[in-house]
């Protein structure tokens, strides 16, 4: 099979190469890294396009027609590839918003993981700031529906995926709810990315426990909003609303939440939005102790608790948005 380009065979396996999804690529006059396609019949790769050469729309179309979903880059070109993704796709307002969203949410995984593991919260705050800028730009561009975003969301047990999904839902929700171009969507996005920061200090076995938590374990788990808040509260570069999102996203309208058992509007509006987004994504994802729920079941769950656990207006806005396909 030939997909064009100058072919050169490297048949000694794919060690030293990283897979990249075809749909993360877009046309560029000069590629900054070598691009490989899987070799036929052998477990190797074939050079498709050398660095410093262009990658155009026809190339991408041809690759797609040949069913090439995954291409390869040399492992040492990882940084060049990430730069390319941000410069040519994420920041490119001419690129399709769904592609920009997909690239943003796949290309930032390792940066998030490194920042989340870092002892100081500096890296997480910096990550949240940059990520929020791109996320709000993409979602508020106006050509992407909530339904599309939900269909693109991945669900797994990783904090990164959950944080990205909660951020996506919070921004999409606030964008519909407020309908105000001056609204601080970046702030709400940043708070959503940081909302589970305190879980860094919770033992992993507790987060992944299959059985019922005992009182002590439940109490330990319930410390994460306070712990996250305490890590960030002395910083001038985190907005108060974002801090409240971290601290109050488990508060409930009826006062049965934690850590402060606030009721009604005593909870910050951003935290009330994040609470809905958080539960929405948690129910859509499989957990060690239960299976993922269907979209309509999650909508029903939220509607049944609107006004009691969750802000009624926020729930109504979100359930209407997720049911709307346009």
């Amino acid at each position: 099979m030939s997909v064009g380009g100058r072919e050169k065979c490297f048949g000694s396996g794919r060690e030293g190469y990283l897979p990249v999804a075809l749909d993360t690529l877009c046309p560029v006059p000069v590629l900054d890294f070598d691009l490989y396609v899987p070799a036929e019949n052998i477990d190797g790769v074939v050079l498709y396009r050398e660095r410093n050469y262009p990658l155009d729309r026809d190339d991408l179309q041809r690759l797609s027609q040949h069913g090439m979903e995954t291409l390869y880059i040399p492992a040492d070109s990882q940084n060049a590839y990430r730069r390319y993704l941000f410069d040519e796709v994420v920041k490119n307002t001419d690129a399709p918003p769904l592609q920009r969203y997909k690239v943003l949410t796949t290309a930032t995984r390792s940066a998030f993981t490194a920042a989340f593991r870092s002892i100081s919260p500096d890296h997480m705050v910096q990550f949240a700031d940059e990520f929020s800028t791109h996320m709000t730009e993409i979602i508020c561009g106006g050509e992407i529906s909530v339904f599309d975003l939900i269909s693109l969301m991945q669900h797994d047990r990783y904090t990164y995926t959950h944080s990205v999904n909660v951020c996506t839902c919070s921004v999409a929700l606030a964008n519909v709810l407020w309908d105000d171009p001056k609204a601080d969507l970046r702030g709400i996005a940043s708070g959503a990315v940081l909302h589970d920061l305190g879980k860094r200090r919770i033992p992993r076995f507790l987060l992944n426990k299959r059985g019922v938590l005992n009182n002590g374990e439940r109490e330990a788990l319930r410390q994460h909003p306070r712990v996250g808040f305490e890590e960030l509260c002395m910083r001038a570069d985190v907005a108060w609303g974002s801090l409240m999102t971290v601290y109050q996203h488990h508060e409930r309208i009826d006062g049965r939440g934690y850590p402060a058992r606030l009721t009604g509007n005593e909870t910050h509006e951003w935290a009330r939005i994040c609470a809905v987004a958080d539960v929405f994504d948690a129910l859509r994802s499989e957990r060690p102790y239960r299976k993922a729920s269907r979209l309509q079941d999650v909508a029903q769950y939220l509607e049944a608790r609107a006004g009691r656990e969750f802000d009624r207006e926020v729930v109504q806005c979100w359930t209407s948005a997720i049911k709307c396909r346009n």
Partner: protein, 141 residues
């Protein structure tokens, strides 16, 4: 309640006018001034025993966090329990962990405290737990 009024007068003499937003729970209306040791709850880790210590106190606000505006001033609060390491009190407003303030208890010196937890009891009433610390945060002095 005569004792309470007397305590407030003493505090006002010491620090000036006190703002009070607190709505005291009905259980407190009759039982003010109780004493005795307080039991710990199952998840609490305490270094020192805690005693019931129901007195009126003055809490001084200063700037605590960079992103939270706290106008300076004195507030009337009701101390609830006291130990060597800290105290709990009732206040009309939510306070946040790591906020540092100063508190004046009857017959004692002005003390610096750091908020550890704060939970809603009822409307305009939060129970706050704090530990004694050496000093305020540097921008709060």
């Amino acid at each position: 309640m005569l004792d309470l009024r007397h305590q407030v007068q003493k505090l006002v003499q010491a620090v000036g006018p006190l703002r009070c937003d607190l709505q005291l729970p009905s259980s407190w209306q009759d039982g003010f001034g109780q004493a005795g040791q307080l039991p710990s709850r199952y998840h609490e880790r305490r270094r020192h025993p805690r005693h019931r210590f129901q007195v009126c106190a003055a809490l001084e606000y200063r700037q605590t966090f960079p992103s939270l505006h706290r106008p300076s001033g004195w507030h009337q609060v009701f101390a609830d329990g006291l130990s060597r390491g800290g105290l709990s009190f009732l206040h009309g407003e939510q306070l946040f962990p790591r906020e540092r303030m100063r508190i004046l208890l009857p017959g004692q010196e002005l003390k610096c405290i750091e908020i550890v937890w704060s939970g809603r009891v009822q409307q305009r009433c939060f129970r706050v737990g704090a530990r004694f610390v050496e000093q305020l945060h540097k921008f709060g002095q």
